[in-house]
Each structure stands twice: as C-alpha cells, then as structure tokens.
C-alpha cells in the first residue's frame, strides 16, 4: 500500500494545486475592467447598427432561410437595437450590472441570429463570455453600482468562472491553430498571401502582400499556427506568461492593422491584458493609475 501511496502523491499535489488555481479568491478588478471593456465594445458595435436596423434585422431586409427566430418588423428591429445600445452602455458603466449583462446577452444573441449573413466567430465568443460573465461579481468595482453601494461590495471572488472565460479564449486559439495546421495552403504561407490581398484586407495588408517574400509569408504563417496551438497552454504557465501575452498583443495588433475584422482584435487584446495576468497585478496597476490621477488632480488644484 505504501509504494502506491507514494506513487499517487505527486498526482494528488498537482490536483490540489489545480483546485487551488480554480477556486482561490481573486480580486474583482480584472473581471470588472473586462466587463467595462466588453460593454463598451458592444455599445460601439450596436451604435453602428442603429442606422441600418431595417436591412439587418427586419423582414424588410433579406433574410436567409432557416432562421430559428420569428422575423422582426422594422419597428421591432429598431426597438431591440436601441435597447441593446442602452443595455450595453449600462454594462460598460456598471449600472444594474447583472441586469444589463442579461439584457445584452439576450438582445445581442437575438440580433446576431436575425442578421444571419454576417455572423462571425467574434459573435459566438461574445455570447459565451456574456453568459459566463453573468455568474461573476463584475459590477463590484469600477462601476456605478459600486459607487451606489460604497463599502458594501465584495472585493474578491472565486476564480472559477474567470478560469472558464480564460479557457474559452484558449480553446478559440487552439482550434483556430488546429484548423490552420491541417490546411496545407496555410502551412505553405499561400493562405496568408491570399488573406492579405483579400476582401478583408486593409490598405496596409494589401501593401504588405505586394512585397512580402514567400519565405516571410511561410514564417508568418508558421508563427501564427505555433502561437495559436501553444499559447492556450503557455498562457497558464506563470514563468512564460508575460512573454506569451506580449507576443499575443503584437500578434493581434498586426492582425488588426492588416485586416478589417471589427472588434475581434480589441476584444482579444482586452482579454490578454486583463484576464490572463495575475489578478493581484492587475489590481495594483489600477490602484497605481487611480493614485496617479488623484496626484494629477491635486497638482492642478
């Protein structure tokens, strides 16, 4: 019995470490910043929809066959879009945060399903994240709710749901990398060339596609695949995490500069910079920023 116990002991230690990482108490600030950022991104996106609700979401516009939801009237589409703008602003500001979060989740899901034509991975990621965010105290800091309930709000929360949100981003990277890896044209760099000269490319992307050498394209393609395959694991290893986050920031800035992909880049940058570093470090940076602002105000007075 004793040797078996000895064999199991490292396994038990790893398991208890994992349990500690999943359930330990962490500061609320990272999830609060993330909530505010996501709310702002959806608010900005929904504002761009407002002028086109008839085409995008109502029965007056073209609807793809097979939409599971009933078609909306022009007035209904406008009302739902306007409600999404208000709810997203509420989420960004942290006003009745949980209600705002629930409203954004429902309205955003309905409108994305109604549009059908322009559905992207970015939308499904947001729907998952908004669902998970409902189970966090994301309004406990940096919010109007926190101002209203000054002193009564919790300062920490269990890490479990935050870990699930991290895993959502990790699996998006991993499966994106896996799909690219199994495509020979991606591995050879051909798809990178095509994407940079494609309809999603920005003028910068088009310009780069004009002089990029095949070797550089292949290197870029392999770098993309390797990052997407390994970052999901390396982001959870503390000693390499800062480097993986830095590489991820550069990776997303590069994509955002060369391709018109809406708020996918800012969303991933937000997650990398806020959700993946040690939560205590994020809190310290925020506190330092607040102190810096207070000093500046005092200096002005």
């Amino acid at each position: 019995v004793i040797p078996v116990r000895g064999l199991l002991s490292p396994f038990r230690t790893s398991l208890s470490r994992l349990e500690g990482a999943l359930h330990r108490e962490i500061p609320v600030e990272p999830i609060a910043v993330y909530r505010a950022g996501v709310g702002l991104l959806i608010f900005l996106e929904a504002c761009t929809w407002l002028g086109h609700t008839r085409e995008l979401f109502s029965c007056d516009g073209f609807r793809l066959p097979g939409c599971a939801l009933p078609t909306l009237s022009a007035a209904g589409a406008l009302v739902l879009s306007a409600a999404l703008v208000v709810a997203a602003l509420g989420l960004a500001l942290g006003l009745f945060t949980r209600w705002a979060n629930a409203c954004v989740l429902v309205l955003f899901t309905i409108l994305v399903e109604e549009d059908g034509i322009d559905q992207k991975a970015i939308h499904s990621i947001l729907i998952v994240v908004l669902t998970l965010l409902l189970f966090t105290p994301s309004g406990a800091a940096l919010s109007l709710d926190a101002l209203r309930k000054r002193g009564k709000e919790t300062r920490t929360h269990g890490a479990f749901v935050c870990r699930l949100i991290q895993l959502e981003f990790a699996q998006v990277y991993f499966f994106a990398g896996l799909t690219k890896m199994t495509n020979a044209s991606w591995v050879s760099g051909d798809v990178l060339f095509h994407v940079l000269s494609g309809r999603w490319a920005t003028p910068l992307g088009i310009w780069i596609s004009g002089w990029l050498s095949p070797l550089a394209a292949r290197t870029g393609a392999l770098g993309t695949i390797l990052y997407e395959l390994f970052a999901p694991v390396l982001l959870f290893i503390p000693c390499v995490r800062p480097w993986v986050i830095t590489a991820g920031v550069l990776f997303h800035l590069g994509i955002q500069g060369t391709l018109s992909i809406g708020f996918l880049g800012p969303h991933f940058l937000l997650a990398l910079l806020v959700l993946f570093p040690e939560p205590e470090a994020v809190r310290s940076v925020l506190e330092w920023m607040l102190r810096f602002r207070q000093h500046e105000k005092m200096d002005h007075q």
């Binding site: 085409e55 793809l64 798809v191 000269s197």
Partner: protein, 117 residues
C-alpha cells in the same frame, strides 16, 4: 478564423429579364446598403448554396416588382458569381479584370418571378 482562402475575388450578380424584353444586372444596393468588406455589401457575404441563392432570387423578384407597372415587371432572374484571381499589392476592381481572367459560376438559372404567390 481565416482558416482558408482560395485567392480568388468573387462578385455576386443578379441578372434580370424584364417584361419589355430588357435584360440587365439588377442593382442590389437599395437592399444591401451596409458595407461589410472592401468588396462591398452584405450581399457579397451570402453563403454560396442553392437555398440561399434561391431565397435571394425570390427576394429580388418581390422587391423589384413591388408596385411596378406590369409592362416593365421583372420576369426572371439569374444568380451568378464572377470570380477572378487577386493581384498582389493592389485591389483589382471588376472592371479592370481582363475578360479572359474571369470565371463564372451560375447558381440559379432563369428563376421565374411570376411563380411567386
């Protein structure tokens, strides 16, 4: 995300035959105003399958014929894709592409508008 790309640029077109005998491309921009990519509006992002293309043909027939004089009604439509290989370093517009480089895929041929209820 961007897991595949064949290097071709596509342009979806709907060609209509009218009751007065005229045949011309139907301008889809009144119903697809939102620009999604550098290639154009949401019409260019439609999934290329029979179901979606048939739905587009029916939609175009209904919208064009709404309140229209029977003598100039749209009678039938073709839905097709023009495709051409992309150039590196610049965006080739449809008009700039030599005819020999164009490839056409017909999705719906002679969809009868009058068959609509």
């Amino acid at each position: 995300m961007f897991s595949s790309d064949d290097g071709w640029q596509y342009r979806l077109v709907v060609d209509g035959t009218f009751a007065d005998g005229a045949r011309r491309e139907v301008d889809l921009s009144p119903w697809f105003e939102v620009t999604v990519t550098a290639a154009g509006g949401r019409d260019q992002e439609l999934p290329r399958n029979q179901e979606a293309m048939r739905a587009l043909a029916a939609f175009v027939c209904t919208r064009v014929n709404k309140g229209r004089d029977p003598a100039t009604r749209l009678i039938e439509v073709d839905v097709a894709d023009w495709a051409w290989p992309r150039a590196r370093g610049r965006r080739l517009a449809f008009d700039e592409v030599p005819v020999s480089a164009l490839r056409k895929t017909v999705w719906i041929r002679r969809y009868a508008c009058e068959a609509l209820p």
